[in-house]
Symmetry: C2
Subunit: 484 residues, 2 copies
Amino acid sequence: MATKYETLAQSFAALIEQGTLRAGDRLPSVRDVVATRGLSPSTVFEAYYLLEARGLVSARPRSGYFVNARPERREEPQAMHPTAGQQAVAINDVVMAVLGTVRDRRVVPLGSAFPDPALFPLERLARGMGTAMRRLDPSQLLENLAPGNPDLRHQIALRGLAQGVPSSVDEIVITSGAMEALSLSLQAVTRPGDVVAIESPAFYGCLQVLERLRLRAVEVATHPRLGVQLDSLEQVLQHHPVKACWFMPTFQNPLGALMPVDKKQALVALLARHRVPLIEDDVYAELYFGAQRPPPAKAFDREGWVMHCGSFSKSLAPGYRVGWVSAGRFAREVERLKLMGTLAVAVPSQLAVLHFLKHGAYDRHLRRLRDALAARQERALRAIAQHLPAGTRVTRPEGGYFVWVELPEGVDAMALHHAALARHISLAPGHLFSADRRFTRHIRLNVGHPRPEQSDAAIKALGRLVSALPGQHIPFTAAKGART
Amino acid sequence: MATKYETLAQSFAALIEQGTLRAGDRLPSVRDVVATRGLSPSTVFEAYYLLEARGLVSARPRSGYFVNARPERREEPQAMHPTAGQQAVAINDVVMAVLGTVRDRRVVPLGSAFPDPALFPLERLARGMGTAMRRLDPSQLLENLAPGNPDLRHQIALRGLAQGVPSSVDEIVITSGAMEALSLSLQAVTRPGDVVAIESPAFYGCLQVLERLRLRAVEVATHPRLGVQLDSLEQVLQHHPVKACWFMPTFQNPLGALMPVDKKQALVALLARHRVPLIEDDVYAELYFGAQRPPPAKAFDREGWVMHCGSFSKSLAPGYRVGWVSAGRFAREVERLKLMGTLAVAVPSQLAVLHFLKHGAYDRHLRRLRDALAARQERALRAIAQHLPAGTRVTRPEGGYFVWVELPEGVDAMALHHAALARHISLAPGHLFSADRRFTRHIRLNVGHPRPEQSDAAIKALGRLVSALPGQHIPFTAAKGART
């Protein structure tokens, strides 16, 4: 549920987005808003602080709050229309080669998939975990075997209910992060050789799991802002024996696309009609910048076809490896696979997350985290508009910490990756995000990392590299049509 | 390395085992031993305390130490000769049904696979983990991704070296317990449909993983005390396209068999000759009752064919889910699979174990643990000899916490399981331990559980149930030929 001040901030943000409020405009005084909307002064102040944290307005001493210059804008990338065939997946060597670079601390981690750990309450988590583990009656260890700690599953079910997700405690299996949740879900509903529908572009982790399980991929067209295109999906379902869909309807990785609520609802209905399970990767949903959490597709699941996979790794506890799946009609099969595979999730991790959910003001932490990520995205988009050459397009997701950049014609993202790495900058080339390495002039950038000056400089360096790549003679010009 | 007092204790234990020292005999006085062996009095006292802790001798005030009456003995079970065929594995439903019962706290857990958690330093582990996690620089989180925390891998390599295992740090991958280590090892060297050689009887977890990965099993004959029979293995290698062996050369589950050192060496040589990887499940080795840790087969691996899988779950940290594999020539493939599967082991768990290895007197903890388990086994064997009917045979493992019981002809272990469960006693019927459910009159008992009176009573109850089973009219008689 959005609070009053979040709702108020969102209404001003919408006015700024529309252009009703423009750069340099003064927001109404707190006194005026109190008078006209019947809110308390502290609510209005909270809303204005939030807008400021998100980089939309600035306070000027003794004058009030003024709308900031909008960052220069790039157009959004074009829609993605994959080829129609099924294909085996062999992506892993590329992914390993590229991602091995993010561990080097000298490298500016624009290519990283991980959130900035400095944004997380790691010390409080550790203290809570220590307390919970010292109090543990050893005989309780067995209670944490798959499907997982009953109280933790209860907490997850409660949070789900508040977000419109009708998960029962019995349906939830705790996993070693979302990766295990997704992988077990896939194993529960496929056999080697089966066909799985994925997004185009798709999260490379999905491609790796398909490769590992010897599954075949068929890619579905996406819109860079609105996600999976249902007409494309319908085509795919008609022409291929699809055994499962693996989609990220909320803040898709790498696009950041957010399927609108009515499309999510239609997606669930379509798949139920075809009796095809939806494996829903929902790990970024808590990182929304808007006033309210976008509901997952699972919220519209009436028949148990949606296997909803979540994690605390991006929102609370990186490195603790606590995820879950609410697997609908496949819940018992997932539990069996979990028991056969890794038996249980580490008890300290389960109890650390449980302790924080019960005593740790999780929602307050999440608000701070979202504000920080929104402000960082704003700043990075500004740097991209300023430093990357004309013809560059970029997404502007409403949550998470990735943007997806389409570089001008002729740029090879893999060549850029190598050139950037030589300058200690990592990025994720588009080659990682499809079975046929089709996105050769796209890159995914992690804009959630801690040192903004460093990120700005790295983006500036990327701009120079793009222009200097062999065969590239793209004159540097600032984006046309940017609103200022 | 065995200490002086352990070596001394072992020499007396051997004399008792041979019958040179008999029930009621007095051990030489401390003064005499000091004089004849050139040891310090405290060394001799430590040795005598150890023998006492293991139930072999008792102190009588102002008289010295006297050899205890040996428990009544049962013969060891017969050797196991499997049928020769390959077979698909479908064991999982049986295992789930039986093992679901061990979570019920009202049940006496003779069927449990887990060690008694009360024997572990859970509070110290939790404190050390809290310290390590609070001190963690968040940017270090990435260092704990697969292959795992570098310091922890270093500690594991050092312990290995001290035990004659030539693992390099680079070869070690940290896993979510040994189950993941074993499963990843198997995935690294097989494809669905391949044939894997396993022991007969085999650990049901192994059968479950084979089933999950759609592998075929061929079973190798074992001796209940000496483990895998190499002539049987040689036959199997000649007649089947074996892609891997999954064996437990040290304290095999369920038998408790310990392959002698020269047989381990011959096993490694045989498999290297056939270029067949050995997946060595070595999770019980630290629980030896003798003076020295039996070396794993990996100690004799010169060509990298042995994938040595270990865990801290049985020896230090149940529920933390920290295991490892030292995978020889397959190490990089295992690391890739780990990254694709669950990405990393929970950081708190890795750091907890690391902290204990560096600051926690692990070896002292292990000595106490081994003494406790040895004494419990001794007591349970006594109860078995006393209460189970004539014709019962039982193993007497030199480590771990399982014994394998062969019941008299005609007894059905599954019927016994159901009857026992109705009386709140669990056991693991032999049906779980082979692909064709061949061990129908065998049971595995966990003799490491905490309340010995309760265990004794449960074993007594089992004795009554065996005699009372439908179709059973076995008169109760104490074992013949028991040494007293």
